[in-house]
Amino acid sequence: MPSVLTPVYIVIAISVAAFVITSFYFNFTNQGYRYNIGWLLQDTSPFMWSNLGIGLGISLSVVGAAWGIFTTGSSILGGGVKAPRIRTKNLVSIIFCEAVAIYGIIMAIVISNGETAYHPGVWKEGEVYALNSQNRHAGFSMFGAGLTVGFSNLFCGVCVGIVGSGAALADAQNSSLFVKILIVEIFGSAIGLFGVIISILQVTHAKMGDKP
């Protein structure tokens, strides 16, 4: 069965190849100055960064939740055939996985509330630098916040899913085990919460707009 990471390898390989080819081209045609990280960070729109953050935040959270739900759900189905009593109790594991997706939605909404339009035309001379850096700071913060919540929810969802699968199968054999394994799931769920907390801290400093 092919590894789940093969598409990631392909994407990485293509982007590295593109980078190497363009860098050699620039170097050999005396355009080395075009590799300009400062230009990249200054001239790209903060809205691109913030929307990327929102998109990554919600989609990676949903990937994590989905991964967890299918891992636990198929084990509950299998174990529930010969031990029907586990069906209702083990839905708690599914709820833990679902909570991860809800964190993603909440953060996506919070981050997107920070986006405001700004109009460089009405800025005063002395404030241009300050407003520019403030808006860019906001864009980068929202990107970071989205990444934070997205990746931590991804791994949290996978973790809770695998533990929940073990919990379902163990519960089918011996009902006293379920509550103990639930404690492990609670710890796993906490790491998703850490991501949300840090993400909120990142976003509260993000201020876009025309006022410094």
Binding site: S74, S75, G78, G79, K82, S165, G166, A168, Q173
Partner: protein, 348 residues
């Protein structure tokens, strides 16, 4: 195939087979079964286990062979359900499990034909898990080469026949050599297949198949004392995997009696213990029983890990052992010979 992806294709079946495993007859039920006076009592006690009313349609004077057939039928139904629900590579794995039974069926049919039994008498005696489409056609040829070209080349076992095709006619001694050669090719193929399946399955199945290969090597050696099997022939029957390969095999080839075999086993800690605790007195367990016990211990270990295929193999083997146990107890009850009724191998 790891803990991240396993449940996509196989999570349901893993849960299902663990449910089946929890239905395996427990020690308390065996104690009840041992108290039975007649086979009808046995049937009553089996109703409270996972077997339920499987014997309810049988006419009243129950026989042990009927109980055996019905128990086997239950395993076959469960296995077929899992086989039809599975996808590659689990379906290939489950097919490999059935090839062992197919080899036994082929040998049974060939031997039966040699003894002038008709195919229709022999087919009901075959193990249902090892049935294949060309079974009915096995009576037509007299040498293995003809049989292979006509019938066996279409079965999944075709690659295993390479080492043992010859122009000689099939007779009694050759049949056992054919069986063991086929089984050796099958074990080696299964071993290679399991290595491709990923870490947990490969680790577990390597250990299990190594034990199976070693057990066959030791059993072939012990059974060949006093027969016409030459030492060179004996060497070609040992599967080329397992702990005893290759030094243990060369020592076993040179062995001449039971004590030599025991001396070879002394070098391997698990097998030394098995030999020490067995013996030929009526009160001691035989070596075969100790091998079964060791196999049960290995099979139980499969259920301690998640996300691997070993549980399916272990489940089939444990159900077979349960089948042997219940039939043993049923025989003792039917013949009212209570002294060795506790000679079954406890599982859970």
């Amino acid at each position: 195939m790891n803990s991240l992806n396993f449940n996509i294709d196989f999570g349901y079946l893993e849960g299902l087979v663990r449910g089946f495993k929890s239905g395996i007859v427990k020690q308390a039920d065996y104690l009840n079964l041992m108290q039975c006076e007649t086979l009808d009592d046995l049937k009553l006690h089996l109703q409270s286990t996972d077997y339920g009313n499987f014997l309810s349609n049988e006419p009243s004077p129950l026989q042990v062979s009927i109980i055996d057939d019905k128990i086997r039928e239950k395993l076959v139904i469960e296995f077929e359900h899992m086989r039809t629900q599975s996808v590659v590579p689990l379906s290939t794995f489950l097919d490999y499990i059935t090839y062992g039974y197919m080899i036994d069926n082929i040998v049974l049919l060939i031997t039966g034909t040699l003894h002038q039994h008709t195919i229709s008498e022999l087919i009901p005696k075959c193990h249902p898990l090892g049935s294949f489409e060309q079974m009915e056609a096995l009576s037509i040829a007299s040498t293995l080469l003809e049989l292979y070209n006509a019938v066996l080349v279409d079965t999944p076992l075709a690659p295993y026949f390479i080492d043992c095709i010859s122009e000689q006619d099939i007779d009694e001694l050759n049949i056992e050599i054919i069986r063991n050669t086929l089984y050796r090719a099958y074990l080696e193929d299964f071993y290679k297949f399991c290595q491709t399946l990923g870490s947990t399955t490969a680790d577990y199945m390597s250990e299990v198949l190594a034990f199976e290969a070693d057990r066959r090597a030791i059993t072939i050696t012990i059974n060949s004392f006093g027969t016409e099997l030459t030492k060179d022939d004996r060497a070609t029957l040992f599967p080329r995997c397992g702990k005893l390969f290759p030094e243990g095999h060369s020592a076993l080839v040179r062995a001449d009696d039971y004590e030599h075999v025991r001396a070879v086993a002394e070098f391997y800690s698990e097998y030394r213990i098995l030999f020490e605790e067995s013996g030929n007195n009526p009160t001691e367990k035989t070596l075969e029983d100790k091998f079964f016990e060791h196999e049960v211990m290995l099979m139980k270990k499969a259920f301690l890990e998640q996300f691997h295929f070993g549980i399916f193999y272990a489940y089939v083997k444990l159900k077979e052992q349960e089948n042997r146990n219940i039939v043993w107890i049923a025989e003792c009850v039917a013949q009212r010979h209570q002294t060795r009724i506790d000679g079954y191998i406890p599982i859970f």
